[in-house]
């Protein structure tokens, strides 16, 4: 199943973003995490075997433009509704990973009647003093595989697509992409990924599935319980042998969990 890739004008031409689309059936919008998502992502392919998947890139990611006008959580939340509108979708299943999960949860809190099915995969957005989220932004490139993945060697291969993390040329491209992406992500996540979501979670009406890698070192699994306790009727599924990048390490298990949304 091959993905289509195209640009979409959003918010009456205020922003233009890249969208990957694949599969058929019920529409599902996937909101990516701080590291972005690629067209050939095995996770998108796994989702596409069950749903018609739309994966928009947030401005600052790939060739999506318009990041300068997105300064805070509300702007990004409304932008994401604008994307759903621009794609001509009506109440699609909303799934988000990490930062994308934070955005999806905000959307479901801000406009509870617009979001009926919600999949949150290791979402950011809460702060627990006993289970702090480490500082993602000061990590050096070579520290990322062990931080993000249950299996660091597998993680390094995934992050570099076989290139050498100590090759200055590769590193330069890697860091420039990171700088651009994380400049945007930082507006939601820096220095602490808490923009008040905890106060709004009670508004969520969607049928909600939470999915967490048991070995998540970025957002400790205890955050799963906190989300679960804050959202009426939410269900939490933990996935073994997976870190924060559970969508890459165990894509089929994540899709099976999300399938409970219907």
């Amino acid at each position: 199943m091959s993905a289509r890739s195209y640009l979409v004008d959003v918010a009456q031409g205020r922003r233009r973003i890249r969208v990957f689309e694949a599969g058929g059936g019920r529409p599902l919008v996937f909101l990516h995490g701080a590291g972005g998502v690629t067209e050939d992502s095995p996770f998108l392919a796994a989702l596409a075997r069950r749903w018609r998947v739309f994966a928009p890139l947030l401005p600052g990611y790939g060739d999506s433009e318009g990041a300068e006008d997105l300064r805070d959580m509300l702007a990004v939340t409304l932008h994401s509704f604008d994307v759903v509108d621009a794609l001509g979708l009506d109440r699609p299943i909303l799934v988000g990973h990490s930062m994308g999960g934070m955005i999806a949860a905000e959307m479901a809190s801000v406009a509870p009647r617009e979001v009926e099915r919600l999949g949150l995969i290791a979402p950011a957005g809460l702060w627990l003093d006993a289970h702090p989220v480490p500082d993602l932004f000061s990590k050096l490139p070579h520290e990322l595989p062990a931080f993000l993945f249950h299996d660091p060697e597998f993680g390094e291969r995934m992050l570099t697509a076989g290139a050498d993390l100590d090759d200055p040329k590769f590193l330069e491209a890697f860091i420039i992409r990171n700088a651009r992406q994380l400049a945007m992500a930082g507006k939601l996540l820096f220095p602490i990924p808490d923009r008040g979501l905890a106060e709004r979670l009670y508004r969520i009406r969607a049928r909600t599935m939470l999915v967490w890698g048991e070995g998540d070192r970025v957002i400790p699994p205890a955050h799963g319980d906190a989300f679960c306790g804050g959202i009426a009727g939410a269900e939490l599924i933990r996935i073994p042998e997976a870190g924060h990048m559970v969508i890459i390490e165990q894509p089929e298990a994540v899709v099976a969990a999300l399938a409970r949304l219907g």
Binding site: R71, S138, D166, L171, E172, L182, A183, M184, P191
Partner: protein
């Protein structure tokens, strides 16, 4: 030529195995390493040194702003300048804080700078740094991606607060003031000279050139490595059609003067090593939060430092290497004069921020080097830009008659 005696105010008691035991001198260094009793002595010693520098002829006294930093113990540079305002009488107070994007509301900076300018009788040089990523993002929690927009707004507010004679409404994105009203206002008109410490982004060049602000490159890595950046700056000055007065620019240089080259190494070697190897031990992950710099200003030179082999190989530089590479200008007065002349002419700078106190250098030694530079080097460099002496745009314009602090009561009674 103008010479500013600058003290970074480093903590002098970092342990010998600091590099091995701690990952950074900045941001996450435990404050358990700070001892307030010793700190009392250290602050007062450093202020003594700044005051001494005025007496031997330096044109300005420099202080700056850092946070959670063991080599820069001035979270509030205005406090240091206030202390200096009363015990000095002639030198410019060069405050290369305040990091205007860090103050809420930023009119606080307009007020504090105005106070300093009034107390000192118009001796303030007002610095408006963006601030490093360590200070602004990591220690002060500012979101990298909106820091520069916040800076631009703070700058607009401060300039307007100094210019207006009536309260005004300021409706910014980050600051909203129904009654923006700066009391007091600065002595110097239309405003004190403004210095911008820069690190090589094109936007900052343009900002300085268009506003007639001094652009000062505060590098610790010396004039040989600073050359490319300053060349780019002067090229931009030409492109924008501005005049090429050297007083548009400043450069910070570490300087060590002794009677002979050999004496310089013997006296200052260990203190210079303390500075470069302990004070500048900064965790690379804190240097550049993603979004702090625009993508186009990220240089591969910097990126190379982040590969694993380079991180491991951060070996100590020897005295010889530091001198040869121009990190420090050190030696006899004649050696120092030659290299400073080369620096001043090749970088085309009218202001030198003299970094003479190095690391854990004791006070007598600091005074010795400070005085030798003032008496035996400065006079030979004074006239380098004499064709531009009439350019008063980039320096203080104090009141002709300034108040002299009265003797304290006990002294007066004696």
């Amino acid at each position: 030529m103008r010479f500013v005696w600058f003290n970074l105010m480093p903590w002098p008691d970092l342990p010998e195995d600091f590099r091995e035991k701690y990952r950074s001198v900045w941001v996450d260094i435990p404050s358990a390493l700070y001892d307030p009793t010793r700190g009392h002595e250290v602050y007062n010693t450093y202020l003594d040194q700044l005051e001494f520098a005025e007496t031997v002829g330096y044109d300005g006294l420099g202080v700056n702003e850092h946070h959670a930093n063991a080599y820069g113990l001035m979270p509030s540079p205005c406090l240091m300048a206030a202390a200096l305002a009363r015990r000095t009488s002639r030198a410019a107070l060069v405050v290369l804080g305040s990091s205007i994007a860090l103050y809420d509301p930023p009119i606080r900076v307009a007020e504090e700078f105005a106070m300093l300018d009034v107390i000192s009788g118009g001796r303030l040089v007002a610095g408006f740094p963006v601030g490093t990523s360590m200070d602004t993002n990591y220690a002060y929690g500012r979101v990298p991606g909106t820091l520069r927009e916040r800076y631009a707004e703070a700058h607009a507010l401060i300039r307007r607060a100094w210019a207006e004679d009536q309260p005004f409404v300021f409706n910014g994105r980050y600051t909203k003031l129904r009654y923006a009203n700066c009391w007091p206002k600065p002595v110097q008109k239309p405003h004190p000279p403004i210095f911008i410490p820069g690190g090589g982004s094109v936007e900052t060049y343009d900002f300085c050139i268009e506003n007639n602000y001094n652009y000062s490159y505060l590098s610790f890595f010396g004039y040989l490595r600073g050359r490319r950046l300053m060349d780019n700056y002067w090229q931009r000055v030409a492109e924008l059609g501005a005049d090429d007065s050297p007083y548009r620019a400043g450069f910070a240089q570490s300087i060590c003067v002794a009677e002979t080259d050999a004496e310089a190494e013997r006296l200052y070697g260990s203190h210079v090593s303390y500075f470069f190897n302990r004070c500048l031990h900064i965790y690379p992950g804190f240097v550049d939060a993603p979004g702090y710099r625009t993508v186009k200003t990220i240089q591969s030179e910097f990126l190379n430092q982040l590969t694993r082999p380079n991180l491991g190989a951060a070996a100590s530089l020897s005295w010889g290497e530091l001198v040869e590479r121009g990190y420090i200008v050190a030696g006899s007065p004649e050696t120092v004069r030659q290299r400073m002349e080369e620096l001043i002419k090749t970088l085309r700078v009218g202001n030198i921020m003299c970094l003479i106190h190095m690391g854990d250098m004791p006070p007598e030694m600091t005074r010795y080097s400070t005085e030798l530079f003032a008496r035996k080097v400065m006079p030979h460099l004074r006239g380098i830009w004499k064709d531009y002496e009439a350019d008063e745009r980039f320096w203080i314009c104090p009141l002709a008659e300034r108040a002299i602090p009265a003797p304290i009561a006990a002294e007066a009674a004696r």
